[in-house]
């Protein structure tokens, strides 16, 4: 067991898989010699060699395209897209090619590619270094979509993703890389004070398709993922609401039974995510909850999300869902 922040946990997951499976290779922009702009792959090239961990040309469409070709022919590529905002130049390769390969070939061809991409806001990154594009990919059949919220899950889920025979989009909330940001940019709790920063050193898996109940509660269910797990947790503590907090962890496949069981108990539900509201993954969660828990619901389900605007620079903290907005959504769910 070691104490790790999220970056170290991701690196440890890559390291374990590079060690176990010679077909695993890691590449992307600046990931080789330098070890990635967020340092997730630091030291891996020195340890495993340039043919297993390497820099690529600055072209995301190319990166994912070659990853598919490699994956179809026996490798398990783990490309990094430097920021999830830069997945769009690879959108065609991801959504038309990677996602549909198994289906279009009647199961003959597959490519077990895991695309890592730092996502989310809170780093003053403006429009193009802050986006949460998960809904584009959950909307595409054939892709698994994962977003861990702490070091232990990050490593365990990354190992499961790399071993998964289906393609996985692995979002890493970059605001959490070096601290358990919970809504206050001035006071970011260090990971070393968090129990989830105790990460097993060797190989272990955190299964895809299993949500985590972060905090049990009776009065309202809060469903969220990524950075918002911590913001919601702080909002719950501050407001002293007895909320049940669910970290979805993998959006596709979604662990619906855990959510349904919780809402059946609490009768109230709010969904929180950073991404814009309209057609965000929260809309799917709301639809499923109302379908499965209609007779248990005591109040309308409320969404707390980013606004339907691009992610702004100067007004970042007015855009990001805050503790206050989450608390007020819980209050409104409880008021009915």
């Amino acid at each position: 067991m070691s104490t790790m922040n999220m970056i170290q946990a991701v690196r440890s997951g890559l390291e374990v898989m590079l060690e176990r499976d010679r077909q695993v290779c890691v590449f992307g922009e600046d990931v080789g010699y330098f070890g990635g702009v967020f340092r997730a792959t630091q030291g891996l090239q020195q340890r495993f060699g340039t043919h297993r961990v390497f820099d690529t040309p600055l072209a995301e469409g190319g990166i994912v395209g070659v990853a598919i070709g490699m994956g179809m022919n026996g490798l398990r590529p783990v490309p990094e897209i430097q920021f999830s905002d830069y997945m769009y130049p690879a959108f065609d390769q991801i959504t038309n090619e990677l996602a549909k390969l198994r289906y279009r070939s009647g199961g003959e061809w597959t490519a077990p590619v895991t695309i890592r991409a730092p996502s989310g806001g809170g780093i003053r990154g403006g429009l193009f270094h802050s986006q949460s594009p998960e809904a584009y990919f959950t909307h595409t059949a054939g892709l698994c979509v994962v977003m861990p919220s702490n070091p232990r899950d990050a490593k365990g889920l990354l190992v499961s993703s790399i071993e998964c025979d289906d393609p996985v989009i692995f979002f890493e909330p970059k605001r959490l890389y070096r601290g358990a940001f919970d809504g206050d940019p001035e006071h970011v709790p260090p990971w070393r004070d968090q129990p989830e920063a105790d990460v097993p050193d060797g190989y272990y898996r955190t299964p895809l398709g299993q949500a985590a109940i972060v905090r049990p509660g009776e009065d309202v269910t809060v469903v969220t993922w990524g950075t918002m797990v911590h913001v919601a947790s702080a909002a719950i503590n501050e407001s002293e609401v007895d909320a049940e907090l669910i970290d979805v962890r993998t959006l596709a496949p979604l662990d619906l039974p855990t959510i349904v069981q919780s809402v059946e108990k609490t009768g109230r539900c709010i969904v929180v995510h950073e991404a814009p509201r309209t057609c965000g993954f929260g809309a799917e969660v709301v639809a499923l909850v109302q379908q499965h828990c209609f007779w248990n619901l005591e109040a309308p389900i409320v969404r707390v999300t980013g606004w339907d605007t691009p992610f702004p620079h100067a007004q970042e903290w007015q855009y990001m869902p805050s503790r206050e907005r989450i608390a007020s959504a819980m209050r409104s769910a409880l008021a009915v």
Partner: protein, 452 residues
Amino acid sequence: MDDSKILIGKANPSSHTSAAAVKDPLPLALRVPAAPYRPGDLPRFNPFHQQPGDFSRPDTLAPHTELRDHAAGLIRVLGDDGLAAGPWQPSIGPQQLRSGLEMMMRARHFDARMIAMQRQGRLSFHVSCKGEEVAAVAGAMAFASHDVLFPSYRQAGLMLVRGMPMVAMIGQLIGNRCDNAKGRQMPVHYSWRAGNVVSISSPVGTQFPQAVGAAMAFAYRGERRVVGAWIGDGTAAQGDFHHALNFASVFRPPCVLHVVDNQWAISTHRNTSTGGATFAARADAYHLPGLRVDGNDFLAVFAAEAWAIERARRGGGPTLIELLTYRRDAHSTSDDPTQYRAPEEANHWPGGDPIDRLSRYLIRNGHWTENAHRDLNEALDQEAAAAFQHAESFGTAATGLGHPTESLFEDVYTTMPPQLTEQMRELQTESSPPSAETSIIPFEAQNKRAVG
């Protein structure tokens, strides 16, 4: 019988060549290029072997085939002796050269001041163009003011030449009320419509096909305006580079496309962006002229720009210009190049410093003096300092950037749709956001990292 096996045949054996049958095989392994120098290495560069006068200056309507050598070579005007020579000497007077020098020095002081302010926590981020000021300044000066320009984030000098007030530029960096783009973007993503400069976005290379489209609009409407666009060596790997060249090749609209080869894309050396050929040489495959130019030689760059712009304006179509230079500073203030570059690489590289080279040339020809240079440095230092103070008076991260809540929801559409109006009300009725803004990208202090 198992039906599912019916269609599964065997691969035709003749389609397989066994390894033993390969004639004189070379060792097979994935080729992964290494940068020439990394920390701990002593960089050794050869001096430029191309000299001023090595390359002809064809008529501006010459076929692209007459420029193949220019695309593989290096067009120079200022020689190693500091003198100007050869057919590419531009028709530009001492006064214009002095203003080019001044603009480059202004850009340099601007960068130095902004980096200092970032270190003090008064800016979140900056990108410096130190050492490659020519690309932006000579480029922007050679275009006519009604020509439309699509710079990258590393062309502050272009904004200055196009008349964007330094205060407005700093307002953009701070993201306060004097940012004409309303604090929407992260620092160095300027927009200056008044000077025909298109808004800069972060996804690299997207401006290249857009610039070709802008030129197509001018051709379509019969307006004799030329479009300029700039990307980096790393960005030349993007699909958008090739989209731009192919459309430029097919439709031949009036544009000048530039690759500023400063040899690095964050930590990635140019040799991972191209497998060997120069960037300019790619033009030939598209039947376009390519010019590779000493990018730290103001005279050569100005001359190449003037040639390509004249060609476009006469109706001769697009040109690809590669400017060979060196990124002297970090990629950005979030980056620490000592992690991946040999420390003295910039000083060993033979291209020198563009400001030194032009000022020495002017001094030698009696058009400039050491004293004037020193005075100008002092004046520009004060100008940048004063501009920063002035810009801060419109709001800071600590005192508030001064954007009303509505601003967050405006400019998404021409008029605000009802669902946004409702979201705006929702935000206005919620409690206020966390108190003070953090002034820097958060993990800066613990571990430097790069951000686009």
